[in-house]
Symmetry: C2
Subunit: 341 residues, 2 copies
C-alpha cells in the first residue's frame, strides 16, 4: 500500500526545501531548470497530487458547493441536481448534497454541518416545513456570514440572495388558456397547501387566465391535496360532484393519480376531461394517455443556479454593494395526448 506522498517527502528525498519543491512543481522561474526537472520527474514518478484539504485551508476556498434539496427521489429535483453537478464539475467544483426530507430541522442541521468551512456556497430549495413555518433564520445566518446562497424554485422574499425561479404564473396562465382555446370552460385546479410559493403563483396564473376569458372563478373547482398520502375518495368525489372538463395539476403525481381516478370513474381523457400537469417526468411520458405537461427544465435551472453561485463565490472580492438577481426560467408546455381532442 503506497501512502499518499507529500511535498515534505519529495523535499527530503531530493535534499531540497519544501518551498523549492512547491515552486518547482508550479514551474516558478525562481527555480533552475535542473531542479525543476528533477522535482517534476520525481513527482510524476510517485504520482504526487497536492492535498486538497491543505489547499482549501490555505486558500479559504474548498471548491465544494453545498446543495440542500427537499427530496432526491423526485424527478424535478433530480434533474436540477444533475444540472448543478454537471456545471459545477465543469468549473472544477464538487457537490455535497444533503436532503432535508421536507423537514425544517434537517434543513437547519444540514446547513450548519456545511457552513463551517466545508463549502464555498449553497444552492437550495426550501423544505415544505420551512415554507410552512416561515422561519428563515438559518438562511439569514449563512448570508450574514458572507456565504453565497442561491435559492431555486421554492424561494422566499424574506431572504436577499440570488434566485432562480420558473415563470409559474405565466405558464399556468398559458396552460389554462390552452384549455379555453380548445373550448373547455369548466376548468379545475388541483394544488397543494398554499405555503408553497410555487403553488400560489400557479393558482394566480390559473385565476388570471379564467378572468381574462370572462370565466367566473369557482372555488368548488379548486381542490387542495396533501403533498403525499392521497385520499382516493376525496379525489373521486371531486370528479363526481363537479362538472369538470379540464384539470390543471401542480405536480406530476397529482396529475397521473387524478387522471387515473377520473378514468376509473368512466371519464374519457381527453374527450371528457383534459389534463395538464407540472413536471415533465417519466410518468408523463409513459402514462395512458400520455400526459401534457409543463416542462420545468430542471437541468437548465440547476446549471444557471450553479453558474450564479460560482460566479459570486469567485468574485466575492469585488465588495461592491451586493446586488442580487432573480433569474426566470421559461417553462414550456409539452403537448401530448391528455389534451388533444
Amino acid at each position: 500500500m503506497k501512502r499518499k506522498i507529500t511535498l515534505k517527502h519529495i523535499a527530503r528525498e531530493l535534499e531540497v526545501s519544501i518551498s523549492t519543491v512547491s515552486k518547482a512543481l508550479k514551474n516558478s522561474d525562481e527555480i533552475s531548470r535542473d531542479t525543476k526537472d528533477k522535482v517534476q520527474a520525481f513527482a510524476k514518478l510517485y504520482n504526487y497530487k497536492p492535498n486538497n484539504i491543505a489547499i482549501s485551508l490555505k486558500n479559504k476556498r474548498t471548491k465544494n458547493i453545498g446543495v440542500i434539496i427537499p427530496d432526491i427521489v423526485h424527478h424535478f429535483f433530480t434533474t436540477v441536481f444533475r444540472g448543478i453537478e454537471k456545471y459545477a464539475n465543469k468549473r472544477g467544483y464538487n457537490v455535497i448534497v444533503c436532503v432535508s426530507d421536507e423537514s425544517f430541522d434537517k434543513e437547519v442541521i444540514n446547513m450548519e454541518m456545511l457552513a463551517n468551512g466545508s463549502i464555498d456556497g449553497f444552492i437550495m430549495s426550501l423544505s415544505a416545513e420551512t415554507q410552512a413555518k416561515n422561519d428563515f433564520n438559518h438562511l439569514k445566518e449563512v448570508t450574514e456570514q458572507g456565504i453565497p446562497l442561491v435559492l431555486f424554485d421554492r424561494v422566499t422574499d424574506e431572504i436577499l440572495c440570488d434566485k432562480v425561479i420558473l415563470n409559474d404564473r405565466e405558464i399556468a396562465y398559458e396552460a389554462v388558456d390552452s384549455f379555453i382555446k380548445a373550448g373547455r370552460k369548466k376548468i379545475a385546479l388541483i394544488t397543494t397547501e398554499s405555503y408553497f410559493n410555487v403553488s400560489i403563483s400557479r393558482a394566480k396564473g390559473y385565476e388570471e387566465a379564467l378572468l381574462a376569458n370572462n370565466i367566473d372563478l369557482n372555488d368548488d373547482l379548486v381542490i387542495v391535496l396533501p403533498y403525499d398520502n392521497l385520499d382516493e375518495k376525496q379525489i373521486g368525489d371531486f370528479f363526481k360532484d363537479n362538472d369538470i372538463d379540464a384539470v390543471l395539476c401542480v405536480n406530476e403525481i397529482f396529475a397521473i393519480h387524478c387522471m387515473g381516478m377520473a378514468q376509473k370513474l368512466g371519464f374519457k381523457v381527453p374527450e371528457d376531461i383534459a389534463f395538464i400537469g407540472f413536471t415533465d417526468g417519466i410518468l408523463s411520458k409513459y402514462s395512458k394517455p400520455r400526459l401534457t405537461t409543463v416542462a420545468q427544465h430542471g437541468d437548465k435551472m440547476g446549471e444557471l443556479s450553479a453558474e450564479m453561485l460560482i460566479d459570486r463565490v469567485e468574485n466575492e472580492s469585488e465588495e461592491t454593494e451586493e446586488v442580487f438577481r432573480t433569474e426566470v426560467i421559461e417553462a414550456t408546455l409539452i403537448k401530448r395526448e391528455s389534451t388533444i381532442n
Copy 2:
C-alpha cells in the same frame, strides 16, 4: 457581515493562549472552571464553530464520503443514494456525489478529483463504459492508496473490496418460476448488453429456472436492447415473430416500454402476456396494468454500503489482513396486475 470567528480571535480577546481556548472548549480538566466558563460563554456569544477544514487537515479525516454513480435520474440509483445519504448523515458524514454519466473517462476524472484528500472513502457503481472496457486501474489505484471502497450493484471481480449486490440470479429464477407456476411456458427475456454483471446474473437465473422446469432454452426468446434509444420496430417484431406468454425485463423502462408495445399490438396483459420488470420505480406503480416488479431495495443497499464503508474508514487502524465482504440484498417480487390472471 460578521465573519467567522476563530480560536485565535477568542484567545486574543480573552488574553489567554490559543491552546487554553481549545482545551477550555473541550472541557479539558486541565483548565480552571473560571477560565472554561469565560471561554465557553464568549464562544457561545459569538457562535464559534470549529473550522471543518482545519480539523480535517489535522485528523486526516474529512468525514466526507464520495459517491460515484452512473446516473442520478434513475430510480434505483436515486434510492440507493438516498439510503447512503441518510445513513451517512446519521454518522456525521457528508456525501459528495459525482455522476459518471455511464462514461469511463468521467468516472476516472471524478475519482481523481476526490481521491486527493476530499473524501475518506468511495461508494460506487460502475459505469457502463467501464464495464464494457473492463479497465479498473482507477479503482486499483485508489484501493492501493488505502482508500476504502465499496462497490454496489454493478461490481467486478477484478477489484478486491467490499461489495453490496442483489441476489439477481435467485430473484430472476423466482420470477421465471412464478411464470411457470402460473402455467406459462413461452417465456422471453429482455435484457441489455452482457457486459453488465447484473444482466448476466439475471440471464442465468432465467435459464436455470427454465431448465429446472424442463423447458428448453430458445435463443429467439432472448432479446438484447441498447440501454437507451429503444427501437420500436425491433420490439414490435419481437412480439409479432415469436409466440410469447410471459416476459422478464431486466429494468423498468424496458418493461414499461415493451408492455406498452405489446398492448399496442393487441396483446392483453396479463391474459396473453404477463410482464415482470426489475426496479420497483414509480412507473411500475402507475402503469396500466400496474407492473409486477423486482424490488431492489435501493435504500437498504445504500444504507448497507454506507455502513460498510464508514465502519472500514473508522477501523482502518486495525491493520489486520484485510478481509472483504460481499453482502447480498434480498430482492423481493412485488406482485401486481401484470402477472395476475
